[in-house]
């Protein structure tokens, strides 16, 4: 018959190969990105040695510094050195800040991770709830209201959302601080209070996108014959969506989530700036303005890494949720 006894094992092997392929292509992408980042940062005008010594420096002094910094080496050698450093956890030395890049990042990365994680915790359940509810009430009043709201949220620029949040909660109501500083000590509640507004602003932005994708993915399933069959079995509307439809819609939903969530880390520049929050995105912007190449490269690699991991997770979930792939 269709499933010989060995299908389970061969299925698992197949799954591992499939996942290994995804990981391998992720790593390849990462390598290509590193190449591109390296080349582009080399194309930016100016030279770190020149920059440090200023316009009035003698060519000899510049040359000496270049040699010291290894800038006179061929590009390939510099690239490989840099790559080896990255892999070894040493992304180089920032001449602008006069400290190792690793140290700068270590001071910022946790902040970004905390903000992203808390926003995810708020946004994902909220998006799922909104998406599912409006899909279930498709065409109804609630659906139309939610639809208009999320559409407005997608369309509103984030600086506007953040500014309005500050005006309401910090200026008018005076409930929350307008500047989000991670408290050095104090409990989780203090942290929440401090980060409430950045979390709020970021969540609003990603919730809207995720909720709309969730709704679309579920509605695409609702027209299929198996849904009619489930209704004719007497399945309740809630069970229909949660037990029958959701597992089939999970792939497009997690994909949309991966895209939205990767934004929480790298796209938070404006929110970080408005709330003066010491995160990674504003760090990267600073690195661009101060031509701090090693720092810029490291930030770019971190964002890319985060993005690819999220996509990889989404792919894995999608594969595991599909019995055709899981069970050959």
């Amino acid at each position: 018959m269709a499933a010989p006894p060995t299908s389970r094992e061969s299925g698992n092997a197949f799954l591992l190969i499939l996942l290994a392929k995804r990981v391998a292509s992720g790593l390849l992408t990462l390598f290509l990105v590193s190449l591109v980042v390296f080349i582009i940062s080399g194309l930016l005008p100016g030279d770190a040695a020149q920059e440090m010594l200023g316009q009035s420096a003698t060519p000899e002094a510049v040359a000496a510094l270049r040699q010291q910094m290894g800038l006179d080496q061929p590009a390939a050698v510099r690239f490989l050195r840099w790559l080896a450093g990255l892999l070894g956890g040493d992304p180089g030395f920032s001449l602008v800040a006069n400290m190792p890049v690793a140290d700068i990042i270590a001071s910022r990365l946790p902040n970004s991770l905390i903000l992203a994680a808390l926003s995810t915790l708020v946004a994902v359940p909220l998006a799922l709830t909104i998406g599912i509810t409006s899909a279930m009430r498709q065409g109804g009043r609630l659906d139309r209201a939610l639809n208009t709201t999320t559409l407005a949220m997608v369309a509103l620029p984030e600086f506007l959302i953040a500014t309005i949040a500050v005006l309401i909660f910090a200026v008018e109501l005076r409930w929350l601080p307008s500047i989000a500083l991670v408290p050095a000590q104090g409990g989780f509640l203090d942290l929440l209070r401090a980060l409430a507004m950045p979390i709020l602003s970021l969540s609003i932005i990603v919730v809207a996108q995720m909720a709309r994708m969730t709704r679309a993915a579920i509605i695409a399933q609702l027209g299929l014959p198996y849904v009619e069959m489930a209704r004719l079995k007497g399945v309740s509307p809630a069970r229909l969506v949660l037990v029958h439809v959701l597992p089939n819609a999970i792939a497009p939903i997690v994909n949309a989530m991966a895209l939205s969530l990767s934004y929480l880390l790298g796209g938070a520049v404006i929110v970080e700036t408005i709330f003066n929050y010491p995160g990674l995105a504003s760090l990267m912007v600073n690195a661009v303005t101060s031509r701090d190449m090693p720092l810029l490269q490291a930030c770019a690699m971190i964002f890319c890494c985060a993005y690819l991991s999220l996509v990889l997770i989404a792919d894995t979930v999608a594969i595991l949720a599909n019995p055709r792939l899981r069970n050959r």
Binding site: L232, H244, P247, P323
Partner: protein, 596 residues
């Protein structure tokens, strides 16, 4: 006694709630006694499924039950609210859908889906439900009843899914079961097993049933009473035997006539002896051809056939047997891996590029699905104009004249020329599809399942048309179908394909009575006859006899795994030889005299 199901004045509308609504079912009344089986028959669009679904208080989106009453036992179904209906559905009334493959949730195991109705309606706990499911799997003659529930829908065949869906419907012991064309998507050989399993399972539960179908012969096996529908209205109602034997309504008679097309008379002038199309030792398939001359996915094996000028060859076989592949090879859409295709004495080049325009013109292919073959945005004029220009250089008045002739040939009014295809009915589209082929003035038309997508009445009209065209124009056809009745009605010679090999080829007369090749025998014996009791007379087929392992690498009979006549030491060791049967056909089998 009070009837178990009573429907009165049922009216269903589509569209809005106001005047713009169109009525799709009107004035339908019927009753079914407890344990009775009522069949709803009619062509597509006659409202069969719509009526069946109202018994569950359900109307498809866009439709609305606008009036009438439906009573099941003491329950007034149209008076129930949503929770009340949900409690009824899947518990007291169960539904078996037309396409089981699409109606199972692809991401859940079969067992979870089968026991779900029992669990959500609180009929039993999970353990009891699973035990009951396994016993139903056994009763429905499913393989490996203890473990089949662990599979996912994609791991099962269409026939198995259809029976699993029956198990899902019967698990709560419903008082009413609705079967909506449950075997239409199956090959005849599978259909007979499924019908037997359904009938037994429904009867043993003492359930009342509604059986929806367009196939009268199937209905004859299943129903006590028949309701004939046309355009949402009842044309005739009565006891099954009476309706089938002495129908009183004209429409019922049309349906009956269409169900078993009468053999079309062959042209008066006997077909010429010189073959028009001759195929010798053809191997073909898909994918790259390796250096031994075999394609990556081999489909056709060693096919030889010939069609004389003006003759018709029928090609029959189950889904996936390679029928369409054969047509594509002749049309030049697939290159043969080896073997020769000769047309009118000349070797036909394998690919389209090497064929001349005249070779193109003389062989035309007509597809099953006119909907996808014709661009809906184009008008009839544009569709017919292209081949007229391309092959014959006709323009202006000459083109219009020829177009009028063509429309006349396919019995459509000339006024249709300006209409867009999207506005035509299924039968009209298939006629236009045919006219497009005729526009080239071909010698051979390859008809791939040209009537399969049409319902019986419309399909029968197309068959008549094909026979007339053949007489008038001296056309030769290769007529492909999975339905042996259709093929026997129109073809001079018939070839039976199984797994890409021609297991039997011979004149139409040879298929009227045995002996046959064992597969032809199965095929012929599985076509239901239009009388009650036929199903019961068909003793369940014995399992194929045990044989030793098949010899590795030998080019064995494809039918071996399913053949009940297989011979140990012969069929599993050697390539079957060709034999000539007294009836006039050649078979590929180890039995010198075919068995029955």
């Amino acid at each position: 006694m009070k009837p178990h199901v009573e429907v009165k004045g049922l009216r269903v509308t589509a569209g809005g709630k106001d005047d713009s609504a169109i009525t799709i079912v009107e004035g339908v009344d019927f009753t079914i006694p407890r344990g009775g089986v009522l069949a709803l028959i009619g062509e597509s669009g006659s409202g069969k499924t719509t009526i069946a679904l109202t018994l569950m208080g359900y109307a498809r989106s866009g439709c609305r039950i606008a009036g009438g009453s439906i009573r099941l036992g003491d329950t007034d179904i149209l008076g129930l609210d949503e929770p009340g209906l949900a409690a009824l559905r899947g518990d007291r009334v169960a539904y078996i859908a037309q396409s089981a493959a699409a109606s199972f949730n692809p991401s859940k195991r079969i067992m979870d889906q089968v026991v779900e109705p029992a669990l959500i309606h609180g009929r039993m706990d999970r353990k009891t439900a699973e035990a009951k499911a396994v016993s139903l799997f056994k009763a429905l003659a499913l393989p490996q009843p203890d473990s089949i529930g662990n599979r996912y829908p994609h791991q099962l065949s269409g026939g198995q899914l259809q029976r699993l869906m029956a198990a899902m419907a019967l698990i709560t012991g419903p008082e009413l079961v609705i079967l909506d064309e449950p075997t239409t998507a199956l090959d005849v050989t599978t259909q007979i097993e499924v019908l037997r399993a359904f009938k037994h399972a429904v009867a043993s539960q003492g359930a009342t049933a509604i059986y929806v179908s367009h196939d009268l012969a199937v209905v004859a096996q299943m129903a006590d009473q028949i309701l004939v529908l046309n355009k949402g209205r009842v044309r005739e109602a009565g006891v099954a035997a009476q309706v089938l034997q002495s129908p009183t309504d004209d429409y019922t008679r049309t349906l009956m006539a269409a169900a078993r097309p009468a053999p079309k008379p062959a042209p008066a002038v006997p077909p010429a002896q010189a073959p028009l199309l001759e195929i010798k030792g053809l191997f073909a398939g898909y994918g790259k051809v390796d250096n031994t001359g075999r394609p990556e996915i081999p489909v056709l094996r060693d096919i030889s056939l010939s069609i004389a000028k003006g003759a018709t060859l029928g090609v029959i076989g189950e889904s996936g047997s390679g029928k369409s592949t054969l047509a594509r090879v002749v049309a030049g859409l697939i290159r043969p891996a080896s073997g020769a295709v000769n047309f009118d004495g000349q070797r036909l080049p394998g690919g389209l590029e090497q064929r001349s325009r005249d070779q193109f013109r003389r062989i035309q292919l007509v597809f099953q699905n006119a909907d996808t073959a014709l661009n809906p945005a184009h008008s009839v004029e544009e569709i017919l104009g292209r081949p007229l220009r391309f092959y014959h250089g006709l323009k202006g008045a000459a083109q219009r004249k020829r177009m009028a002739e063509l429309l006349d040939l396919i019995r459509l009014p000339a006024s249709l020329a300006g209409r867009a295809c999207s506005g035509l009915s299924g039968g009209q589209k298939q006629r236009i599809n045919l006219a497009r082929a005729l526009a080239a003035k071909p010698d051979l038309i390859l008809c791939d399942e040209v009537t399969s997508a049409l319902d019986t009445v419309v399909g029968a009209a197309i068959l008549d048309l094909l026979a007339e065209l053949r007489r008038e124009l001296g056309l030769a056809y290769m007529f492909i179908s999975h339905d042996i009745g259709t093929v026997c009605a129109i073809c001079d010679d018939i070839m039976v394909l199984y797994g890409g090999t021609a297991v039997e080829i011979g004149p139409r007369a040879a298929y009227q009575a045995p002996p046959f090749h064992p597969y032809t025998d199965l095929l012929v014996g599985s076509v239901p006859e239009l009388r009650a009791g036929w199903l019961e007379e068909q003793a369940a087929r014995p399992a194929p006899p045990a044989i030793g392992p098949a010899l590795d690498g030998a080019d064995l009979c494809r039918f071996l795994p399913r053949c009940t006549a297989r011979i140990d030491g012969l069929c599993n060791q050697f390539t079957p030889p060709r034999h000539h049967l007294p009836g006039g056909s050649d078979i590929l089998c180890h039995h010198p005299e075919a068995v029955n």
